[in-house]
Amino acid sequence: MSGIRITNLRKSFGDYTALRGIDLQVPNGTLLALLGPSGCGKSTTLQLLAGFEAPTEGEIWADDTLLSSPRGVLPPEKRGISLVFQNYAVWPHKTVAENVAFGLTIRRLPKAEVAERLTRALRTVRLDPLRDRYPSELSGGQQQRVALARALVVEPSILLLDEPLSNLDAHLREEMRFEIRQVHDLLGITTVYVTHDQSEALVTADRIAVMQSGIVQQLGSPEEVFERPSNAFVAGFIGSNNTLAGTSEGEGAIRVGDHVLTAPDRSGAAKGGSVALCVRPSKVRLGGDGGLPCNSLPGTVVRSAYLGEHRDVLVDIGGDRTIRAFVPPEHRYGPGAATTVHLPIDACQILAPAA
């Protein structure tokens, strides 16, 4: 097993810059999720890690071994890095057993050891009874487990997962999340998990790197990125969020239209600089006096949707701005009703606007 160190990684394809300088540390044995919307550079980072692309600038290290730099790239087959693909990439012309044993035969291990490790790997992913099937005779989830077993059986020092669950149906996806975390807890292999699904990242990862436009926006534990997002993009990408763009009125205050709102300030912006106020819909209250110290604004209900566990209410607060609130389902609001929006000060954050 090895830790990964990525320094100032840049990658351009012609005029297009996919990565604009990435720095990441993945300590030995941790599971890092690379989270971001499509086109953010997470898959490029993975291709560079696997050795299929050469960086334009920067270096990738596994412990003391330099894997990639603009001067050259250690070929993928020499890295000891296994990869699980979004579309599984299970070879259709090989049986389950042949797929999984491939990496072992490449390593010219003794027959007995191949057989033993193969059986162990197939048992781990509960595919032993299906070992002689061809992939065309397996379900999507089973193919995914073949891909996982094939990657793990060679005991890689690093495991890369490229959106491994996105081709599965919702129910199976939820189940496989826990399975992947379980396998990681069992084997402790340093893992990089690429996904665009925040809940996948929150469930599986020790650390999450939120990426956008080729830059790591925030690197932290799941709790940190959810509770203390570093900017409005991270706040908006992870979980539901209200973002009100405005200008700084000095530390701890933001002007949004005619209102000045106060909140804990982590934007670092000077007075007059552009900032954003972020607040989760679940913290927003409607009507009454709010109870806690709040920023309170008058508004009009635009839309109200009943979701069983809560009611999702959209309130117009003037100036083309709206606030979403998740309120207890027993509170009923019809469109057009006047109400007051309360944003509890402790639940609000003033952040730098989306980068």
Partner: protein
Amino acid sequence: MGVISTSSRDAVARPVMARVPLVKATILGAVVLLLVLLVVQPFGWVLFNSLHDDATGAWTLNNYARVVQSADLIEPLVNSLVLAAATALIAVGIGVPLAWLVSRTDLPFRRSIRVLTLTAFVTPSFIGATGWILLAAPNSGWLNTAWRWLAGEGAGAPLNIYSMAGAVFVCGIYTVPYSFTMVSSALDEMAVELEDAATTLGCGVLRTMVSITIPLAAPAVIASFILSFIQGLTLFGVPAFLLTPTGIPVVTTKLAEFYQLFPPEIYLAAAYCMPLLLVTGALFWMRRRYLGRKQYVTISGKTRAGRQIHLGAWRWPALFLALLLPTVAVFLPYAALLLVSLTRAWGLGLSWENLSLYWYWWAIFGNSETHTAIVNSLVYSTLGATLCVALGTLVAYIVERRMMPGASLLGAVATVPIIIPGIVLSVGFFAAYTRAPFNLYGTPLLLIAAFAATFLPIAYAHGGSILKGIGPELERAARSLGAGEARTFLAVTLPLMGGGLVSGWFLVFIPIIRELSVAVFLITPKTNVMTTLIYNAKDGGNYEAVCAMSVLLLLITLLLVAIARPLAGLTGARRTSRKTATAAGVPS
């Protein structure tokens, strides 16, 4: 783990990298060298020779001046263009409706018509021309005789195959299979959803056809028109058989004439190739431009059986029309060839005493010349197709996976022979390899190489389309598990290409075994192949032998096609069912 092999601890550690493995470098080098030898060099010689004087060997532009100025060199060009345009019109005019009938309607015997059209495809057009000489020669042709028998002695002979119209007819009917195949596969692969969407919006059958199906098939129609045009322009056998006797010259027969002159005007011939190249090159450029803007051709959905259009009362008239092509391209000429080949002496007329298998016995056992040619044809075609497919597939792989800088240039070089008419390539190979240091004249290698070069574009395009369907992840998975590039290619890519490669091999083998124009300047008595032998024997007027050899060539080709079909399907029976295939990115 110890899987990572480098473990230098100093700060300036360098990955083991950038060094291209020896095997890969050797293979890349061999591919580049072969492309230079097979394509660049012969073509370069044509260009070089065209700028030299036949008598003195000095540099000159005189050859080009003669091509442009002398009327007896311009006339063949005009004739060639007329022949090509008419051929393309016939091919598209018959091929497209036929394709639509077979792919989209409930026409009876659809499968049989497909097979018969394929039979027309494997028939060398000059053998078809021989059949039609027997059928429609000015006086003695059977159809003319039959006409006189029906309409009375004084009715004359309405048909004359030795004419421009005759040549257009024969070129046309044997080019129909090209447009038929291209358009019917476009129709087969078209996503049914596209048509269904129109139907759900209230379009009737006819409206859907006019506003959706036909525009979507248009790129295939245009591509097949251009291909048919080039076919008509570059054919050698048909004009040599049907037009030369009446003194109508075309470019290809004129080129052959330069070689038969004494002294031969080889350098003038090289210059005379250029107008052909100019036209074919321009057509391909136009096609590229056109298709470049109509990228939607490739947007095909899942291949499902399309909605069938019910012809109703039109079924039988439609069948009658659909059977016209097989009748004129397969039944009639084959019947003529077969009948003549089975008579001991055709001049003696049809009678039981005259029927015999003598000429087959003669071709296979009796005559060492034909015996050698049969063996040569089989050996050269097998080796040529193998070389061609191996090289084409490797080039396609290098291009698809961008394995070296300038890879797309390799692809362009591998595609160039498609615009080089066979007879021009023959001129080029003659120039390149009959001199030192190669001195290959009279060796089998010369023919094998020329055959491989001629059909390299087919092998390359076919290989590329198979590879496009194999997702790179399938290979990357193997790489990440420790397999090097060569091992990955052998263990993953090649088996996945499997059935496709077999069909690609036959796709090259069949045109090679029936190829005439490439071989015509390159053969010697020892390296004669069946096509050249038939061509020469026909000049000698020995029709019984010509027919027997033609029937043998057809039988061998058809037999191989029959073997090929199940073989190509065999490789993927259990493992490439549609579900995995699409999940893994393999075309089903």
